[in-house]
């Protein structure tokens, strides 16, 4: 489709340049230039040679590696089960597994703390059982971090690997069996080569996510463990050294973009491979219909895996709900959590009222949806519907924000704009800018997906029947892409309302959000209040999630 390029491409370009490339440029400048404008490598060298920094970098690499291993170990059986078997409750399990896509990470961190932490429910139970008055099971922060990371990324592995696996024609497996290749031999020779790229991509994606992890680590890692992302934050906020923070951010950016490059390469391979396979499975999968089959070795395997998954996914969430009404210290039912949260009274921990943070969250989320949809639709149209020189370069440019961490983005924004008096008096705009930059790629993806699905013949048909471009857009195209727009909007909403890292970095107290206040309540161990706030946030996110499932029936995988 050759069309004249519309004027709004400049809107898209200028937004990206002003609010993404300029901030990133500022970080680069800060990393290599002294305050008086002299080029220097001393910040970079300081970062590379610092003992603390070396420890941080090593830990980041190491924990991401372990997280990826644990995620694969827990996720691959799920991918296998989802691809090969049909059983009662499968849909429920599938829905359950998609929950983390929209769950704010701070709530997940809180949940894991409440279950596995020193005063968490497991310890409460063990203390009661053994009659101890001190925590019995002290789990290292690293274990908590790994579990929470697995929780987040198991869905990624299951979704990506089973998507590839399900595309394998069952006749291919039967062909292998009939030729004598059964069991593990069949898996190794016939199945694995066809899903290995999907496994590698999901592992890479998990590695990138956990490499850039902030909220989980800062909440569960205590003082002992910090990732690069957390350290950038403290270099700026605690050590007040923007140049060192920038140098570390540059180093992190280098690694994450390299990983992201390999990820896109591996995704290309997956797409290529999936095109080879057949898309429809013409045979039904093995069904567990009778109790006897359920009690077979396979049945019990699936059952126990489902139970583990259920505990891992439902345990932390439900303990947030329980704790919002239950005082861990006095072991009593309480409503003070919700009372505190809903009272418009200044909190000494937040610097504002907790209720205000709820209003702020909704305010930012609403604005993020609007701006993300505008920016997302423009970008999606430019990519899907227009051909122009430099398009592939542009496509790469707009994808870059996905490979940049929230803290890096926040650091760039604050360094780029803080000195301007307009922004100095309107600091809340920083948060909006960051949220839109984080939310809009998802909106764009959803809209671009639905645009691509519109059969171009339909548009030609409409115009051949005498409809103008305008009529065609409103009566033919828009109704077809509206689900994509809604899904994109919900994604942007979920991203904004769950965002913590950038907000914590950027927000003055009166503009802090729910996620930030949950974090602050956790820091002072006000678990009941944190849980009350967390429960409200879960309910908001789950509503968004249910809407997503309802509208984008085909699953959320299209989002990433």
């Amino acid at each position: 489709m050759e069309k004249k390029l519309p004027i709004f491409i400049f809107l898209s370009f200028s937004y990206l340049t002003l609010f993404f490339y300029y901030p990133i440029g500022t970080i680069l400048y800060d990393a290599f230039f002294t305050p008086d404008g002299q080029f220097t490598l001393k910040y970079i060298l300081e970062i590379i040679s610092g003992t603390l920094e070396q420890r941080v970098i090593t830990f980041t690499v190491y924990q991401a590696f372990l997280s990826t291993l644990l995620t694969l170990a827990l996720g691959l059986p799920g991918a296998y089960i989802f691809s090969v078997y049909d059983f009662k409750g499968k849909e429920l399990l599938r829905a359950l597994v998609t929950v983390p896509f929209v769950l704010p990470s701070i709530v997940v961190a809180l949940g894991f703390l409440l279950v596995f932490g020193p005063y968490g429910y497991i310890n409460q139970f063990l203390m009661w059982l053994l009659g101890f008055d001190k925590p019995v099971l002290i789990l290292d922060g690293l274990i908590l971090i790994l579990l929470a990371h697995a929780f987040y990324n198991i869905p990624v592995v299951i979704q990506m690997v089973s998507a590839s696996w399900e595309r394998i024609d069952p006749a291919i497996e039967e062909a292998a069996e009939i030729l004598g290749g059964t069991g593990f031999y069949k898996f190794r020779k016939v199945i694995l080569p066809q899903i290995i790229n999907a496994i590698l991509s999901s592992a890479l994606l998990t590695y990138i996510f956990t490499f850039l992890s902030f909220t989980i680590v800062i909440t569960l890692g205590g003082v002992k463990y910090r990732t690069i992302e957390v350290h950038i934050y403290s270099l700026y906020k605690v050590f007040l050294s923007p140049h060192l923070a920038s140098a570390l951010a540059v180093l992190q950016l280098l690694i994450s973009l390299t990983l992201a490059y390999f990820y896109t390469k591996s995704i290309d391979l997956v797409v290529k491979q999936e095109k080879l396979g057949r898309i429809e499975r013409y045979l039904t999968r093995k069904v567990f219909s009778s109790y006897r089959e359920l009690l077979s070795k396979k049945g019990l395997g699936i059952l126990s895996y489902s139970v583990v998954l259920f505990i891992l996914f439902v345990g932390p969430l439900s303990s947030v709900f329980v704790t919002s009404l239950w005082d861990i210290g006095s072991k009593q039912f309480t409503l003070t959590g919700y009372q505190t949260v809903l009272e418009p009274r200044l909190s000494e921990y937040l610097g504002t009222s907790p209720f205000r943070t709820i209003v702020n969250s909704l305010f930012f989320a609403t604005l993020t949806v609007i701006f993300s949809l505008v920016l997302g639709s423009i970008t999606a149209y430019l990519i899907v519907r227009y051909k122009w020189p430099g398009k592939s370069f542009y496509s790469a440019l707009i994808l870059l924000p996905l490979g940049v961490s929230s803290i890096t983005l926040a650091l760039g924004i604050i360094r780029a704009f803080k000195s301007l008096s307009f922004f100095y008096y309107n600091e809340w705009l920083f948060i909006l800018i960051a949220h839109v930059m984080i939310g809009y790629p998802f909106a764009m993806r959803a809209i671009a997906n639905s645009l691509q699905k519109v059969d171009p013949d339909l548009l030609d048909a409409s115009q051949s029947l005498g409809a103008s471009k305008f009529i065609t857009f409103f009566y033919v195209e828009l109704p077809l892409i509206i689900p994509g727009v809604i899904v994109g909007g919900i994604f942007a909403f979920a991203m904004s309302i769950g965002e913590m890292a950038a907000t914590l970095f950027l927000a003055p107290p009166e503009f802090s959000t729910m996620t930030v206040s949950i974090y602050k309540y956790i820091s002072v161990r006000k678990y009941t209040v944190a849980s009350a706030m967390g429960s409200i946030l879960i309910i908001i996110s789950m509503t968004a999630f249910i809407l997503l499932r309802y509208i984008g029936k085909k699953g959320i995988a299209e989002g990433f």
Binding site: A171, E174, I178, L179, G180, G181
Partner: protein, 358 residues
Amino acid sequence: MVSVTLDGVTKRFGDVVALNKVSFTAEHGNLVVLLGPSGCGKTTTLRIIAGFINPDSGDVLFDGVSVLDKPPKDRNIGFVFQTIALFPHMTAFENIAFGLETRNWEKQRIKTRVLELAKLFHIDTLLDRYPRELSVGQQQRVAIARALAPNPNVLLLDEPLSALDVNLRDELKLEIKKVQEKLKTTMIYVTHDLTEAFSIGNKIVILKDGEVQQIGSPLEIYYSPKNRFVVDFLQVTNMFTGEIKEFSDKYAVIDVNGSTFRILLRKPMQIGKKITFIVRPEDLILNPSHANQLFDNIFEMVVENVDFKGPFMEVLGRFEDMRIRILTTSKNYLPKLKSGMKINVGFSSSTVSILQNS
């Protein structure tokens, strides 16, 4: 190779009876076609022989020995899939060699065997290509070679030509037939295509709703179809039901809704009995001259549609409330025939077939 016998095989999926007491035998070196519309149970039958599914009752015997307790890999069968199902990550060579590797053949022996089959199917220059680099026809050749490589007891083919273009179908069909005649492998071949079945099969098993309708050679089936379903499936169309009025000297006079027809009866039948007979479309003659004694039956048909098909012409029409279908190579009438016009149609009393279960 073995003979394959199904003995009263029944299979239910939930409430649906997929197969009901299906019995037939594919003898040594025979090519048996399972023919029927989709959903008739032919694929299920094949999958039961392969061992992918087990019957609820009945038995599957290879050379008289039940194989029901054996998994697919121990039945030593070849299977050619409708979806072709080549391993996409292996070359043509690796695909054909797969079943030999699982049997731990030596490398050199595998190579010889693969080449032998590749030559047979004219794909010996394509062996280092991946499936995606082959045409669909070449892919299916590789798939058949793969299935034949380990010298299976029986080769099962599930609509092997359905993924192919029409032109390629005839070519590969002939090739399968030639290979079968050369190797003398017992084959069971599933299709819904009548002409395919007729041209390839020594023996045809017609299935409908999981029940065997008729078993026989193509000629037997075409010239003595057993019931209405087979008649419809053969697209004979011209079916007359009436009462026997007279019977003498092998000939009977039948009253069909007031019109009388004279037909040849090989067996004497009772007067007054209801009878259904068919006339094949190519045996109906348009506008026969009355002098011609051959066409001792003449009726008047209303033309509904005339379809010129190149080598022949198809005329559809109605006689009373019966549908009439005529195939003729005579093109003299083409310009004159119009729908709605009336025309005489004749047939000889000796071309008639009586439905056995009428």
